[in-house]
């Protein structure tokens, strides 16, 4: 079965730096890979979607890349701010699979 693995439980960076979060999948390439943000006590909120045949997607300070050779997606937040502190989840929503990664908790220090 598909497993979605995200790097480390917590990532601490300084304000203004670029945060890079990793999402690896084990079996088949997700047809669609979505990234969500979850704040404590709240439901996940959609950020970006990247399709299997796409290499990169951008939205303001956010960028997602997809490398089917490495079986990996990277999620970047440039010029990070303390308000970006949250848990970020990658989510395989293709081929009738709905599989979330375990999430990476990002802490941006002022």
């Amino acid at each position: 079965s598909q497993k979605i693995e995200q790097n480390s439980e917590a990532l601490n960076i300084q304000e203004g730096k670029t945060a890079t979060l990793t999402c690896n999948y084990t079996n088949y390439s997700p047809a669609y890979l979505q990234w969500y943000r979850q704040d404590p006590g709240r439901g996940p909120v959609f950020l970006l979607l990247i399709r299997e045949n796409e290499k990169e997607k951008r939205k303001e300070r956010l960028k997602v890349t997809f490398d089917t050779t490495l079986k990996q997606s990277l999620f970047h937040i440039t010029a990070s701010q303390p308000a970006d502190s949250a848990t970020y989840l990658c989510f395989d929503t293709g081929r009738r699979a709905l599989t979330f990664g375990s999430g990476t908790r990002l802490q941006v220090q002022p």
């Binding site: 047809a31 669609y32 979505q34 006590g41 709240r42 439901g43 996940p44 909120v45 959609f46 979607l49 399709r51 848990t87 989840l89 929503t93 293709g94 081929r95 009738r96 709905l98 599989t99 979330f100 375990s102 999430g103």
Partner: protein, 113 residues
Amino acid sequence: DTAVSQTPKYLVTQMGNDKSIKCEQNLGHDTMYWYKQDSKKFLKIMFSYNNKELIINETVPNRFSPKSPDKAHLNLHINSLELGDSAVYFCASSLGTAEETQYFGPGTRLLVL
């Protein structure tokens, strides 16, 4: 206007009881979902309905039964609650499936004593 709402927000109950969680979406979406988030914050799909038809039914004890009276509502009934059912349950909806963005409710925090 809340897009996806759930009631109740908190639910504390005794083992063996039967309880229901309700979900409503006002986005006009065709697909609704139930997820369980455990104490380690891992989110796992339980059920998905498209136009009131069950399309995803993961390995979930049959004590859990979803019911969709119409496209805007998806309720979750849990019979004979067990300690291990304690978790946060999230409802979500999307316009279609697979490629579509999912909109999540605020969650229902269930504690079984």
